[in-house]
């Protein structure tokens, strides 16, 4: 570089750069955008990179056959039922981008601790409700129903049969016909069928995980099969590894919301949660035997301080993985999208995350 801040390159080098910039999907973006994207391909967060590699290898080897089987069994319904794109309101003349908002409801402990469902039920909130499948039965039983909130969505992305139980309840049968369901093409067919039998309107999308591997990736092959009969492809979302992050992406990319508020999305444990619960990621497996005073324990289960809510929480390795990914994606979201963490605790804070109480959000966003 010269003393005048001039970056001197050959014309052929510039042409190569232009070609690479175009092929990366950044043809109409600034050079600064493109350079920053290149730096992101080499994450500085080694810990996150390692975690993603482990998860990818683990699930690719463990679940590959189940994904294919689920997709094959879903395919006829995917051909006959609508794309999640049908839920995109932006072509509707009544779509008000500025005031188009959604509340994503996870099933974190803050829901109960902060009485958030009761506060929501008693509010005049008129935006969309995007409910994680794991929270659905509790949310409906708490009075947050499509009768009060007509724009009510539920999301399932996980491919396991156990997701069926999340729809297997009389309260789901009661309100199902007024709920829009958004399902991954890899969802277990029993779970989709249970939701369908409850009257939930099924909408399909792809969940991205190996599209970077090219033509022979499952994502690409499944999209070709969908388009073999359907005129158009389906939207494909980043899941961030969990349904809560998927709901945030659906709020942004499918429902075209410009404000997305998170409740029940702690992505961490309360300090007073039983240690066995924390160590077993909510009793999902047997807690490993680790000396609680060891350095390993402190690495696996770090305590973090949330300066926005002036609270602390404890992460386990899975929440470290989920939280880091979601925070990264929120930091990469466009300026027109506002993300509000109204969970009032947990690990989600930082760049482009506005932390405020749920009560204040409901007061301010009463449109």
């Amino acid at each position: 570089m010269s003393e005048n801040n001039e970056f001197i390159i050959n014309e052929s080098t510039l042409n190569k750069l232009l070609k690479e910039k175009k092929s990366s999907g950044f043809e109409s973006k600034t050079w600064d955008n493109w350079f920053n994207s290149l730096f992101l391909t080499k994450p500085t967060d080694n810990s996150q990179q390692l975690m993603e590699k482990v998860v990818y290898n683990f699930f690719h080897s463990k679940d590959f056959e189940d994904w294919i089987k689920n997709f094959a069994l879903n395919l006829n319904n995917i051909w006959n039922e609508p794309s999640a794109r049908k839920l995109d309101p932006s072509t509707n003349t009544t779509y008000d981008m500025k005031n188009h908002s959604a509340i994503v409801i996870g099933r974190g402990p803050s829901l109960k601790k902060n009485n958030h469902l009761e506060k929501l039920k008693n509010s005049d909130y008129k935006g969309s409700i995007i409910c994680t499948d794991g929270a659905l039965i509790n949310v409906l039983n708490s009075g947050i129903t499509p009768d009060l909130f007509p724009n009510f969505y539920v999301v399932t992305i996980e491919p396991y049969q156990i997701q069926t139980t999340l729809y297997d309840d009389p309260i789901v049968d009661k309100f199902g016909s007024k709920i829009n369901g958004i399902f991954s093409t890899l969802t277990h067919p029993d779970a989709v069928e249970r939701a369908r039998n409850a009257g939930i309107k099924i909408h399909w999308l792809h969940t991205l995980f190996d599209y970077n591997e090219g033509k022979k990736s499952i994502n690409n092959l499944s999209s070709l099969m969908v388009r073999a009969k359907k005129n158009k492809g389906l939207p494909a979302i980043q899941t961030g590894g969990n349904v809560g992050t998927s709901c945030w992406f659906i709020g942004w990319k499918i429902l075209k919301c410009t404000t997305i508020t998170l409740i029940g999305m702690n992505h961490g444990w309360e300090e007073d949660d039983p240690i066995e619960t924390i160590m077993s990621h909510g009793n999902m497996f047997e807690a490993p035997i680790i000396d609680k005073n060891s350095a390993l324990f402190k690495k696996l289960f770090p305590k973090i301080y949330n300066p926005e809510f002036k609270s602390t929480c404890i992460l386990d390795p899975i929440f470290q993985y989920y939280s880091s990914a979601l925070k990264e994606f929120i930091s990469r979201s466009p300026p027109e999208l506002t993300t509000i963490n109204a969970t009032e605790g947990g690990s989600l804070f930082g760049e482009k995350i506005h932390c405020q109480s749920f009560e204040r959000f409901l007061d301010e966003f009463n449109v």
């Binding site: 001039e6 391909t41 993603e52 996980e158 995980f209 599209y211 492809g233 939207p235 386990d316 804070f349």
Partner: protein, 63 residues
């Protein structure tokens, strides 16, 4: 050929809050995480999608 790069100062630097108390040398290792995820994975989870096309990581309108 010359190309000028106008440099904009990054005002966001320094605003980023340190979130995790653990320092770099306390970061979880691959083996430690693998041991944990293998146990947890049996109960269900999914993965983060990464791509050389960074825009793709935020989703595709149609696939």
């Amino acid at each position: 050929m010359k190309a000028n790069f106008s440099i904009k100062k990054n005002t966001d630097l320094g605003k980023k809050l340190p979130d995790v108390e653990s320092s770099t040398n306390k970061e979880i290792t691959e083996e430690e995480f693998e041991d944990f995820i293998v146990k947890a994975g049996a109960a269900g989870s999914f993965m983060v999608f990464r791509s050389l096309k960074k825009e793709d990581e935020l989703g595709l309108d149609e696939l």
